[in-house]
């Protein structure tokens, strides 16, 4: 499910003053995100059990001393699958954000600095991508190129390009009004140098916030795709598919469904909090001014 890409900012001084608890969200967000990253790193070298090793004698166990979170329908250790599942979630997030960042940001800066037909072209291209919500694009890609992690990453990344382009364009438009840009122009710097040396550093904060927002959208989209069976293929551990597989045992082992759901929720919550905290810390208000 797609979430909004930017939120209306509180520009009024009073509103800013009252939102003091937000530095808490920065720390909490960082802690939760670090937890997920750490889990993924640890799972690369160690998990309690092999996350793909089935053991038919150990099916659907509840919590035991050996299997802390129990086992699934094939007798695989749930904690191990959960840990390994963070790898796919983070991989999809990083690649999708990378694609959107590398395509969307330059397009947005270019649109704001060049104006004229270049801007018109970029805006229409952005409109075209906006017509395809990320999840829809991912389903189409799954139909055309086959379901899988790679097509999911690319589709979610492309679907997130307009968000970056819009944020970068709006911020650049504002930056271009500043005195230091006029000064740089007078000294005869060409627009490439101005773009890289003066515009880019000044919109880094906004773009960073956009990265965290997009990351959490990507994690949700990957989970949704895998839940539908159009994302990460079996037997690679994925939270979305795990949730889908355990749903038929909902009345028998409800916790089995809750664990992957909780993992997704913690990851997304951490990223959202991190985004909020960064936005406040960097003073990054509404790019639309």
């Amino acid at each position: 499910m797609r979430r909004p890409q930017a939120r209306p900012a509180a520009a009024a001084p009073e509103a800013r003053r009252v939102r003091r608890p937000r530095s808490l969200s920065l720390w909490l967000g960082m802690a939760l995100s670090a937890l997920v990253v750490l889990t993924a790193l640890v799972s690369l070298v160690w998990t309690p059990f092999d996350p793909v090793a089935a053991d038919s004698s150990q099916r659907l166990l509840g919590t035991t001393g050996e299997h802390w979170l129990g086992t699934d329908k094939l007798g695989r250790d749930v904690l191990s699958i959960l840990m390994a599942g963070s790898q796919v979630a983070l991989l999809v997030g990083f690649v999708a954000v990378g694609i959107a960042l590398l395509i969307g940001t330059p397009l947005g800066i270019m649109a704001a600095m060049r104006r004229g037909w270049v801007e018109e072209l970029i805006l229409r291209f952005s409109d075209l991508l906006l017509a395809f919500p990320a999840l829809l694009l991912a389903i189409v890609f799954a139909a055309v190129f086959g379901a899988g992690t790679v097509s999911a990453m690319i589709a979610i990344g492309l679907g997130s390009v307009p968000g970056f382009a819009r944020v970068a364009r709006a911020a650049t438009l504002r930056i271009m009004q500043q005195d230091y840009i006029a000064a740089a122009r007078i000294t005869g710097l060409n627009s490439w140098v101005i773009g890289v040396k003066h515009v880019l550093p000044n919109l880094a904060g906004l773009v960073l916030v956009q990265c965290t927002v997009t990351f959490s959208l990507a994690v949700l989209a990957e989970a949704a795709l895998s839940y539908l069976g159009l994302g990460t293929p079996a037997p690679d551990p994925s939270w979305g598919r795990m949730l889908h597989e355990s749903q038929q045992f909902l009345s028998l082992q409800p916790l089995l469904t809750l664990w992957p759901g909780l993992a997704i929720a913690i990851t997304v919550l951490g990223l959202n909090l991190l985004g909020d905290g960064l936005r406040d810390r960097l003073g990054a208000g509404d790019p639309r001014g």
Binding site: R2, P133, I139, A143, L228, T257, A265
Partner: protein
């Protein structure tokens, strides 16, 4: 620049470009479309006959124009897989999805307006904080988890509502409503959380404005001032998000439809992808894109109505 006519013209350009993109994308499927639809076991003669029957042997431009012409007259094309004309099925299924999406967004907007305004007014007290923290946490819950939790609690636990399935409204209105409740609740919960945040922030911004101070100086309480003068100004950003969320909701409903076995357009799309039925995929994606684009247009047009400043 932003005259309504220009907005409509741009929307038409976007739609044309999107239709070309969809058409080209779905021609990128490896292998011959007829072969893909019939499977690898089909005899070459059958494949050739299918190609001729559906006009797949003609130039792509002709095929595209024919598809477009069909769409404009309400024909989505004939499925290579089932041999059926898809329009009736696609429209029926879209109607089912709208039954889920429209009540959900309306309910979510209503809840969000109340809770968001409340949270903005009472931002220094516990109840305001509870709403803010609660919406932050609920936002992180994927729709399908919300659905599963609702089934667990209200259906399997308390036995109040059926866990899944769908009943046509005309057949049995009571059963229809009973089947509608859980999926709508699942969609509403997450959307309401997102929208509450927007309403709260928009309201916070409005609270500091001069016209609110003025309204209070003429004797209105803070609540009265906000409801009479604040809501309209806060409406612009909130309606923008609502439009975006509604199109997200229509696509996002695909997951909820899967949780509750609801025969909506999303589950039709997933079935079509699984069955390699590319004509159906093409038609369904076009319908969803059309809805998304029209919603975006509505939001833009609404802006020019609510906020005359954007009509510059």
């Amino acid at each position: 620049m932003r005259t309504p006519l220009l907005l409509v013209a741009r929307t038409l350009v976007t739609l044309c470009a999107a239709s070309v993109l969809i058409f080209v994308l779905l021609r990128l499927v490896p292998g011959d479309p007829a072969q893909v639809a019939l499977g690898v076991d089909a005899t070459p003669e059958l494949v050739q006959a299918t190609r001729e029957r559906f006009g797949l042997d003609r130039p792509l431009v002709v095929q595209y124009l024919e598809w477009m012409g069909g769409l404009l007259t309400g024909h989505f094309g004939t499925s290579f897989v089932s041999g059926q004309e898809m329009s009736a099925v696609v429209l029926d299924r879209t109607a089912v999805t709208l039954w889920l999406a429209l009540p959900s967004i309306a309910l979510a907007l209503l809840i969000a307006t109340v809770l968001g305004t409340w949270a903005a007014l009472r931002r220094r007290s516990v109840d305001g904080l509870v709403i803010t923290v609660g919406s932050q946490m609920l936002m992180a819950v994927p729709g399908f988890l919300a659905g599963v939790l609702l089934v667990l609690g209200l259906s399997l636990g308390l036995g109040w509502l059926p866990p899944s399935g769908w009943v046509v409204p005309a057949d049995d209105p009571a059963a229809f409503l009973a089947h509608l409740v859980l999926p709508v609740l699942a969609l509403t919960a997450v959307q309401a959380a997102i929208l509450t945040r927007y309403v709260r922030e928009a309201m916070l911004e409005v609270i500091g404005q001069d016209y609110i101070v003025e309204a209070r100086s003429k004797g209105l309480t803070r609540g009265q001032a906000l409801v009479r003068h604040g809501l309209r100004n806060a409406a612009v950003p909130v309606l923008t998000v609502t439009g975006v969320q509604l199109s997200a909701l229509l696509v996002g409903a695909v997951v909820i439809e899967s949780v509750f076995d609801v025969p909506g357009v999303g589950s039709l799309l997933v079935e079509a992808v699984a069955g390699r039925d590319m004509v159906s995929v093409q038609g369904i994606v076009m319908v969803l894109v059309l809805i998304t684009v029209v919603l975006n247009l509505c939001v833009d047009l609404l802006h020019t109505v609510i906020d005359p400043r954007t009509r510059a």
